[in-house]
């Protein structure tokens, strides 16, 4: 039966068509091809909504679309579409954000008179198509290919203003740093193929299912002489390399703040729905594989918790509005990794969703502020914008409250669940998780502080520059997306109000839990909960733990926000962070991570490369040159036979004939 899910490939293809249209005839269309992109993403959005409704009815879809390499006695390499609750939800998020970003671009790019718009809209279209292709991928290799396409598009869009010095350099950095991680991912993909002979995500023959069966001794796989447990951990960590690069986790996070050089709508797309989300989504997609490896989970949790805290501290002292948001993105994705590592599959997915809404909102809000400020991003030049741009002000407030995790905004529910899951699993006998939990909890305080520092500096107090006194107005195409996202950032938490359920005993309002419990057997939240190697433990009863956890995180968020309120909600705020002295310098310079990585490249990698070059030039080339030298020398001597004089050749021929005759004669016994 041809259902709506058979049209799932169209969700991916529509933005791709808009990419082709913008690329080929974009300069002849009105608005530089913007309408093609808007129409395509709107179409994808409608299809995604239809998909979600169909999946809600209990249908799933897993089909191979195209086999591009048929294996003879080996694996087939295919493109396929996998629609289950997780990917359907992600499709909805990505298409919605992409659609809003396209609309917003009308205000941010077209109205501001940017040039090169066809290139911009082509990039957005391809970016959206790649991410959607990644989301629906039904095997790891296809996911890898679209993962790389996403990286390519981020390169093209971050470097959009390629005539200035900053953006091309930032684009290169983003490309190279994520590529460093992707290298491990590629090795991981090959390892998965070599181990399981398949890279499918779903079904009884998928690699997570095979890995689980192998651990139970029900299936045998090639583990190259390792214990299956050890080998699966190694493979999982290799794939995790790509995740750390794309999702900007420590230590590969350095590309993301630099990526702010790109146009602001692109930042919104990268941070909320596409590039950075891809890493976390990948872990969620193959969670069944990670869940069987305690070591990999512990590493994910610890990296996540550390990144959440680490990035939040750097966000405290930044001057530019987009830089603060960049560090908050790194920090928030740290929370998602913490949740995944801590066994909170649903919590991570939930935070991925709410974060997509409020971070897209904050970036688009920042874009609106930047339009108003004539592309000045320094918060110390802003102030007092709240009366001049009320729509931006109130939506930005909703986004900030959600980011800080203040009740009852979306971010509160998801962040609370992340921390709650980590806490109960940590209490269940995993001290490492408790450490990661402590870092995540501390980061809540910093998050509240930097969010509201940014908020008050931008919108409150007296204007601190000419442009802030008389800001540029914004139109419907900026306000519309802000309002939609503002509403979502406020209410998206209702899809999963677990604390309310646990405290008041109302059953059945954990909609996201139920949602992710549907779909393929083996890809359900319930199945993952059985797989994870953690046991839960509570402080007192379950309800007490929920209440204590929520109260602590809300209290910390309020404390951070309140401190920012006291310090910065004054007519003429001063630079309180200067009191930190040396610490501020360290934070402002990102713990010298960039310097250290440059040193790593220049001081370690370059000498190593030089030694390798010496070896290549001296030994390898030496052998090759030596062999050819012998040939050349011998050839130079032997060629002297070739005099060019016919008489000599004739003489040689005669001598040869004589010698031959003599030889025959002697051997044949003619002279006896």
């Amino acid at each position: 039966m041809a259902g709506i899910l058979d049209f799932a490939p169209a969700i991916v293809l529509l933005p791709f068509v808009s990419f082709l249209v913008a690329l080929s005839v974009g300069d002849r269309l009105p608005k530089g091809g913007a309408f093609a992109g808007i129409a395509a993403t709107a179409g994808s959005l409608v299809l995604a909504i239809a998909t979600v409704l169909t999946v809600a009815g209990g249908q799933t879809y897993d089909a191979t679309i195209y086999t591009w390499a048929e294996g003879i006695d080996a694996v087939d390499l295919t493109f396929g579409v996998l629609i289950d609750p997780l990917s359907a939800m992600m499709l909805l998020i990505v298409t919605l954000i992409a659609f809003l970003v396209h609309v917003f671009s009308l205000g941010y790019m077209n109205d501001e008179g940017e040039t090169g718009l066809p290139r911009y809209y082509a990039g957005l279209g391809l970016f959206t198509a790649s991410m959607l292709g990644f989301v629906v991928a039904d095997n790891l290799l296809m996911a890898f290919m679209f993962f790389e396409l996403v990286g390519l598009c981020s390169y093209l869009l971050i470097g959009f203003h390629f005539r200035e010095p900053g953006p091309p350099s930032a684009a290169k950095k983003a490309f190279l740093v994520t590529r460093f991680g992707d290298y491990f991912f590629l090795v991981g993909v090959v390892a998965v193929f070599a181990t399981f002979g398949t890279a499918a995500f779903a079904g009884s023959e998928s690699f997570p299912a095979l890995a689980e069966a192998a651990l139970n001794g029900e299936a045998s796989v090639t583990t190259f002489g390792f214990e299956p447990q050890t080998w699966f951990t190694i493979v999982g960590l290799l794939v995790l390399g790509g995740v750390i690069g794309k999702s900007a986790q420590f230590p590969l996070h350095t590309w993301l703040p630099d990526a702010m050089e790109g146009p602001t709508p692109v930042s919104a797309l990268i941070h909320a729905a596409t590039m950075v989300a891809a890493g976390v989504y990948l872990v969620a997609r193959m969670y069944g594989f990670y869940a069987i490896s305690p070591t990999a989970l512990a590493i994910i949790a610890f990296i996540g918790g550390f990144t959440a805290l680490f990035a939040a501290t750097m966000g405290l002292v930044k001057r530019e509005i987009k830089q603060v948001l960049a560090y908050s993105t790194i920090s928030q994705y740290g929370y998602m990794m913490l949740a995944l590592g801590g066994g909170g599959y649903v919590a991570a997915t939930f935070h991925l969703m709410t974060h997509a809404f409020f971070k897209a909102l904050l970036f688009l809000g920042a874009g609106s502020v930047i339009i108003a400020m004539h592309h000045n991003e320094n918060m110390w030049d802003m102030g007092g914008l709240k009366d001049k741009m009320p729509v931006t002000y109130y939506t930005f407030l909703a986004g900030s409250l959600a980011l800080a995790g203040i009740f009852p905004f979306a971010g509160f529910w998801s962040k609370d669940e992340v921390l709650y899951e980590t806490l109960i699993h940590g209490l269940g006998g995993s001290p490492l998780l408790l450490g990661a939990y402590a870092m995540g909890l501390l980061a809540v305080f910093f998050t509240g502080f930097y969010t509201f520092r940014m908020f008050f500096l931008t919108f409150h107090g007296n204007p601190r520059s000419q442009t802030a006194e008389d800001p540029h107005g914004v139109r419907w195409n900026v306000k519309g997306p802000l309002v939609v996202l503002g509403v979502l950032a406020t209410v998206a938490g209702v899809v999963n109000m677990v604390p309310i359920e646990k405290l008041l005993g109302i059953g059945g309002i954990d909609f996201l839990h139920q949602w992710l419990d549907g779909g393929f057997e083996g890809l359900t939240a319930h199945h993952y909960a059985d797989l994870i190697p953690y046991s839960s433990s509570y402080i007192g009863s379950e309800a007490t733990t929920v209440a204590v956890g929520a109260a602590v995180s809300l209290g910390l968020a309020l404390a951070g926000s309140g401190l920012a309120y006291l310090l910065y909600n004054v007519p003429e705020p001063i630079r309180h962070t200067d009191r930190l002295g040396r610490i501020k310098a360290v934070l402002y310079n990102n713990y010298y991570q960039d310097e250290y990585q440059v040193w790593l490249a220049n001081g370690v990698a370059r000498p190593l490369a030089r030694v390798a070059n010496k070896f290549d030039g001296g030994v390898v080339d030496g052998v090759v040159n030596g062999v050819s030298g012998v040939s050349l020398f011998a050839g130079g001597r032997v060629r002297r036979i070739q005099t060019g004089v016919v008489s000599n050749y004739a003489a040689l021929l005669t001598l040869g004939l004589t010698a031959l005759l003599l030889a025959f004669g002697i051997l044949g016994g003619w002279f006896v």
Binding site: R639, Q642, T643, G644, V645, V646, S647, A650, A651, T654
Partner: protein, 100 residues
């Protein structure tokens, strides 16, 4: 009947004269003539054995060889003409420019 050894001796003598010419002369025309002598030495052999065995195959082959020799001379003279045009002479030891 003349015994076949005499034919073979004659043939060997003609071949050696041709070989001597090739080894000692530098004039291209004389070269060509010497080659013809060697070719005809082989012809004598063919005809002689044909006669001894009473079989005309050898004579037929001899006729073919003569036709071949005519063609060879035509090409040979052509080469000599080109040689003359390019090197102002027919000395075969001058034409060494294409060796390496």
């Amino acid at each position: 009947m003349v015994p076949p050894e005499y034919y073979l001796l004659l043939s060997a003598a003609v071949f050696c004269i041709g070989l001597f010419g090739i080894l000692t002369r530098r004039n291209a025309l004389l070269f060509l003539m010497s080659v013809e002598l060697m070719l005809n030495a082989a012809n004598i052999n063919l005809v002689a054995f044909s006669y001894v065995w009473g079989n005309v195959t050898g004579q037929t082959l001899g006729l073919f060889t003569m036709a071949l020799a005519a063609a060879e001379v035509a090409i040979g003279i052509g080469i000599i003409l080109v040689l003359y045009r390019n090197f102002d002479g027919v000395d075969v030891t001058d034409a060494t420019t294409m060796r390496w």
